[in-house]
């Protein structure tokens, strides 16, 4: 375990990079996922079709392929940014499909009478969705959404391979391959680093889940 102590600086900065990556991605994916969920229940057919296509593509395509397109196709389109940005956006877009589905099934869990009542007092689509349905849906959205975000934290390890660099997983591979440190302790250190993030996140999620749980 000396490797862990000797390289604690690298590990800590790896954890920090991973956390930043996940924080930006998390915020972005919640926004995008909500918008796409809105598309999927919207009255406009092209938007619905776009939403469905979006979810189909990002749910069924490996993250490796999505990240590749971020890092190598966007620059061809003339969109240049740092690889950290590409990785963050790629991770967010991939996750947004799952966020969207969590939100959509949450919307579906609100009894139809709520929407009917909202409409009968004259609320339009955006008002019905934004003021009546979504606030109620939040309770049933939170548990699956939490799982999606925890999965995203773990998936962030893959972004490191696409030029993001310096995240926890890449720190581990660098220590073990380029610097020839013993692979077993290095990888245990990496796994521990992720567990430090994911296990408390899971506990927090369980707590929130119990808080918002309602008998229906």
């Amino acid at each position: 375990m000396q490797v862990l102590i000797a390289n604690h600086g690298a590990y800590l900065s790896g954890i920090a990079t991973t956390l930043w990556l996940c924080l930006y991605s998390g915020v972005l994916t919640l926004v995008v996922g909500t918008v796409i969920a809105g598309f999927r229940v919207s009255p406009l057919t092209p938007l619905r079709a776009f939403g469905t296509a979006w979810v189909t593509v990002f749910r069924n395509c490996p993250l490796v392929v999505v990240l590749f397109f971020m890092a190598f196709a966007l620059p061809v389109l003339g969109l240049n940014a740092s690889y950290f940005v590409f990785g963050t956006v790629g991770l967010a877009l991939y996750t947004s499909a799952f966020v969207c589905e969590a939100i959509r099934s949450g919307i579906n869990s609100v009894p139809a009478g709520q929407a009917e009542a909202a409409r009968s007092i004259g609320l339009g689509f955006t008002q019905t969705l934004g003021l009546v349905i979504l606030p109620q849906a939040v309770r049933s959205i939170i548990p699956p959404l939490g799982s999606v975000l925890i999965a995203m934290i773990k998936n962030s390890a893959i972004a490191g391979a696409f030029g993001v660099g310096g995240d926890l997983y890449m720190t581990g591979t660098r220590l073990s391959s380029a610097q020839g440190e013993a692979v077993v302790p290095v990888l245990i250190g990496v796994a521990l680093g992720y567990l430090i993030i994911t296990i408390p996140a899971g506990l927090l999620l369980g707590y929130v889940e119990r808080k918002v749980a309602i008998a229906r």
Binding site: R40, V64, V65, F68, L77, Y94, A115, V148
Partner: protein, 286 residues
């Protein structure tokens, strides 16, 4: 609740407005698509030499390229097949252990499940490729990938199985105990078969996850679909085109699997209003 509950059945004016809005959105989306194609064309990404080997059967490289990619896809499916099979077996055992475990060692089972669940699958794959040999256990690259995938997915399947069992009506096990069955027989002969039925859709969805994660085999140079794609790219210098093809194939296969899952679900829940759906891990991008 379907989308249509969220808004009034539109009147003639609203329909006209919606139609206009639809046309405008469609044009905007098409415009964006057109811009992307235009940019790609301007950068030479639509050139024949970039596409020929992929889509033109008369191209000299078409045969070799797809033989190479096909071999990779076969390896991908092979690894995914083993991984899902082993995950299913080990996951079921884990779930039963967790349910039947005495309190003094249940924490250990739960601990293993939580540790494996909280670690990224790519780390587990890398670990089984690098650390197992260091520990004196030599495995081929395929088995390293399968072991990594299994370690990750068996705990997810264990949770699916557990959810499937706990979702069964209590009367089932009570009735079984009442006719004098022992606990392991209740589990094996009464609860598991019913749970599996209810879990089938979730299990098929998990197959999609495994198939996608198989692409991480590229990080350990296992000759799977993406890795073969990389070799093709070194020869043909058409990264974007090959990756597009890889993505399309993955989406087609996984979309088909998802449809099968939905279809199975429909068949299974036909006439059974009480059928409860265990939470699908596939829905989290796990």
């Amino acid at each position: 609740m379907t989308g249509s509950v969220l808004y009034e059945a539109p009147g003639p004016r609203a329909r006209r407005r919606a139609r206009h809005a639809s046309v405008v959105t469609a044009l905007l989306l098409l415009g964006a698509l057109g811009w992307v194609i235009h940019r790609f064309a301007a950068e030479g990404e639509l050139a024949y030499e970039k596409w020929g080997a992929l889509i033109d059967p008369t191209n000299e490289n078409f045969g070799p390229l797809w033989t190479l990619l096909g071999g990779g896809l076969a390896n991908t499916l092979l690894a995914a097949g083993w991984a899902i099979l082993l995950s299913l077996v080990i996951g079921t055992v884990l779930a039963l252990t967790r349910i039947t475990a005495a309190a003094w060692y249940r924490w250990a089972v739960v601990g293993v499940i939580e540790l494996l669940r909280g670690t990224p699958v790519v780390v587990l794959i890398f670990f089984s490729a690098q650390a197992l040999p260091a520990l004196g256990l030599n495995v081929s690259l395929m088995w390293a990938l399968v072991i990594g995938l299994t370690a990750y997915n068996c705990v997810i399947i264990a949770e699916i199985v557990r959810a499937g069992i706990t979702a069964l009506p209590l009367g089932q096990s009570e009735a079984a105990y009442a006719v004098g069955m022992r606990r392991h027989r209740v589990l094996l002969h009464v609860l598991l078969p019913q749970a599996f039925r209810a879990m089938l859709p979730a299990l098929i969805s998990q197959l999609v996850v495994v198939l996608k994660d198989t692409s991480l085999g590229v990080t350990i140079s296992y000759a799977e679909f993406v890795q073969r794609g990389e070799i093709a790219i070194e020869n043909l210098d058409n990264q974007i085109q090959v990756y597009l093809a890889l993505g399309v194939v993955f989406i087609l296969i996984n979309y088909t699997l998802s449809r099968i899952a939905v279809h199975t679900e429909r068949i299974l829940s036909r006439g059974r209003s009480a059928a409860r759906e265990p939470e699908s891990a596939a829905a989290t991008g796990d």
